[in-house]
């Protein structure tokens, strides 16, 4: 009897809960609405269109002629794909190291070692400049800096100082140039995010470590890095996803050349579609990439835990971490 009552009670409460959920969702709709609309308009619609297009043999005639999975089969047999995939992996991996690693070093330098607020601001602003520059201008700066003639900035600099003969930097090291140009831009974002995180570490931790005899290196190792665990994780995921799909700087600086040496996946798709006018094939290449990006995102969210990333993006979240572990212990017991 009593159990029945309880069950009824539970039923009622769960129903109530779902009603409550619906009401909350409707209440939030005015706020979420614009975003949902934008996501649908600029993400779901293009993805769907691309998917449909990838099933056609559309070319410069712009005809929707369905050919099934033919484009996908072609992609997996294309001999150029191997280079592109390898380039993409190299590009993402090394750019990421600069983005996160160099960003972290910059953050340490500007928020931990430079104590003077004005100097710090100056340095951070300098590093922010590329980000505030339109991509075309930034790419042009690189082209100008690496100009292959003797008048090129790097060439004339090296020539005058060390007598090194002029060389064509971009032609000789396309991948390195692309990685450095992209890495430096990304590093400024890392710097800003990590600086904010370092500054939000309560000063008492640094004092305690100092009194206990920690050197600067030990403070970085035992205090700063543990506190920055989640911002670092977050930046890594974020940058991985954005690097996989970005190509504008590569397009502007090397255009994938020479001979596909710096061609990455997204640029490959762009070239197929807009240089060769193979829209159907280009769309298929993009679809595979979208699929991979989604898989990586899901994998990372699974590994690190969606909640954790969202909640632990800040330093205060550290407490939550300990709390979680106690919960786990309870379950284990």
């Amino acid at each position: 009897m009593r159990q029945l009552e309880m069950e009824i009670c539970e039923n009622v409460t769960s129903k109530k809960a779902s009603m409550e959920g619906l009401r909350k969702f409707l209440g939030a709709l005015p706020f979420l609405g614009p975003f949902l609309f934008l996501i649908i308009l600029f993400y779901l619609v293009p993805v769907t269109l691309t998917f449909v297009m990838s099933l056609t043999s559309m070319d410069y005639v712009l005809e929707w002629k369905f050919v099934g999975l033919e484009n996908y089969l072609r992609f997996f047999q294309d001999s150029g794909v191997k280079t592109v995939v390898l380039n993409t992996v190299k590009y993402v991996f090394f750019t990421l190291i600069i983005n996160v690693g160099f960003g972290f070093l910059l953050a340490i330098a500007t928020s931990y070692f430079i104590r003077n607020e004005n100097i710090r601001l100056l340095f951070q602003t300098i590093w922010m400049l590329p980000r505030m520059t339109p991509p075309v201008v930034y790419a042009l700066l690189w082209l100008w800096f690496l100009d292959p003639t003797e008048a090129g900035m790097l060439n004339s600099f090296l020539g005058k100082l060390f007598g090194i003969p002029a060389q064509n930097w971009i032609l000789n090291n396309p991948m390195k140039v692309v990685i450095i140009a992209n890495g430096l831009i990304g590093a400024s974002l890392g710097m800003v995010v990590f600086s904010a995180a370092i500054k939000s570490i309560p000063v008492d931790y640094f004092r305690a470590a100092n009194v206990d005899g920690a050197s600067d290196w030990q403070i970085i190792r035992y205090v700063i890095i543990p506190f920055l665990k989640w911002p670092i994780m977050f930046m890594t995921i974020w940058q991985t996803l954005s690097l996989i799909t970005s190509y504008e700087y590569i397009l502007l600086i090397t255009d994938g050349g020479p001979l596909n040496k710096s061609e990455v996946w997204s640029l490959f798709s762009y070239h197929k579609a807009f240089s060769n006018y193979e829209f159907g094939y280009g769309a298929a290449i993009s679809m595979v990439l979208v699929l991979i990006a989604v898989l990586i995102a899901i994998l990372m969210l699974k590994v690190f835990g969606y909640d954790a990333i969202m909640r632990r993006g800040n330093v205060d979240g550290m407490r939550g971490e300990a709390g979680d572990e106690s919960n786990k212990n309870h379950v284990a017991v």
């Binding site: 931790y205 004092r207 470590a209 920690a214 543990p226 939550g320 709390g323 572990e325």
Partner: protein
């Protein structure tokens, strides 16, 4: 270790946070740095720790000037108000951290951590993270971490202010006992005068960056050198009334339009140097006032409010435009609006100069 601060000044921009501080802390002594928030206590402590450098003056440890000695070379144990326990380390790792930095052998670290954990009764918490233990336990861990390296000087910055009232009182006794056991010279920062009175050998009381006085709790309570000390130490705080000062023969008469108090000869002798008719401040603690029959040499007033303190009652009496607090027994039955006569224990009055607030007893 003996600690001496000599003419120590610390400025932040134009603002002088610590102004010409002179202080000697004897070996093994427990000294409280007491003062209101913002008076420069933490700044003083951070200078002792070596985290701030004095702008001028000298800090000496055992006769050696340490102004330029780095914090890590001072062998100091410090405990922060926020505890500053590393959230990503277990309790054990937190306590072991100072020893690990000193590169002690693993075995020895383990032994020392166990030993200090035993002393603070936190052995069962060693594997937990700071986020998984209570505030009181975190406090013990922070103390254990400060003490594990056997420092020459222990610095405590408001270590009890984040604890609830009952825990705070029990920790007072514990810290004091431990300090005596270990014999470590200790500087304890607090804004709570009760804490300072109950724990310390001597209290250094500060206001606006300046040291007001340093003395035993009894000294500061019984013979405050100025109105700031008189008002800051003791709870409920001392009452102050502005009165006219008249010398008639060998007696002093304190007079204002609503009352007149004649001080007996032996008490008057303490204050004789003043001229007739100057304004002075009469200070007297609530516990040295009582409510009684109509009599000469008492103050007439109207009860404004009666507060229950548990054991006692605190009666607020309106005297002219002033209000004074009188501590009475639980059996006092006056009500709001009653007219009463307040009796003064004349042996325990204090007179202060109305201009500079200094005690007239000390000025003599």
């Amino acid at each position: 270790m003996e600690v001496v601060m000599r003419d120590v000044v610390k400025r932040f921009g134009n603002f002088t946070a610590v102004d010409n501080l002179n202080l000697t802390i004897k070996d093994g002594e427990f000294v409280a740095l007491l003062g209101p928030s913002g008076c420069g206590k933490t700044t003083t402590l951070l200078m002792l720790a070596g985290l701030y450098k004095p702008d001028s003056g000298e800090i000496l440890f055992d006769d050696k000037i340490v102004n330029d000695v780095l914090p890590k070379d001072r062998n100091i144990g410090m405990c922060f108000q926020s505890y500053a326990l590393y959230p990503h380390m277990t309790v054990e790792e937190n306590i072991a951290f100072p020893l690990k930095l000193k590169k002690l052998p693993k075995k020895e670290i383990e032994r020392k951590v166990k030993e200090i954990a035993g002393k603070f009764q936190i052995e069962h918490l060693l594997k937990r993270y700071p986020g998984q233990i209570s505030g009181g336990q975190q406090q013990r861990v922070a103390l254990a971490r400060a003490l594990v390296k056997e420092p020459n000087l222990l610095l405590l910055d408001e270590p009890l202010s984040n604890l609830d009232a009952s825990l705070r009182i029990s920790m007072r006794a514990e810290i004091k006992k431990l300090q005596k056991e270990l014999g470590i010279t200790t500087v304890f920062v607090t804004h709570d005068q009760a804490e300072a009175l109950s724990m310390s050998d001597r209290i250094a009381i500060m206001n606006k960056g300046k040291l007001q006085d340093i003395g035993t709790p009894e000294d500061l309570y019984m013979r405050p050198k100025n109105m700031f000390i008189a008002g800051f130490i003791g709870n409920p705080p001392m009452n102050f009334l502005e009165v006219g000062f008249n010398v008639e023969g060998d007696k002093i008469i304190l007079r204002r339009n609503d009352f007149e108090i004649t001080l007996p000869k032996e008490i008057s002798a303490n204050y004789m140097k003043k001229q007739n008719d100057e304004r002075v401040i009469l200070g007297i603690r609530p516990e040295h006032l009582s409510i009684g029959n109509e009599a000469p040499n008492t103050i007439k007033g109207e009860i404004f409010v009666v507060e229950h303190l548990g054991k006692d009652k605190l009666v607020d009496v309106k005297v002219g435009n002033d209000r004074i607090k009188v501590l009475t027994g639980q059996d006092f039955e006056g009500k709001m609006g009653d007219m009463v006569n307040v009796h003064l224990d004349l042996k325990n009055i204090h007179l202060f100069d109305a201009d500079d607030g200094n005690s007239m007893k000390w000025a003599a």
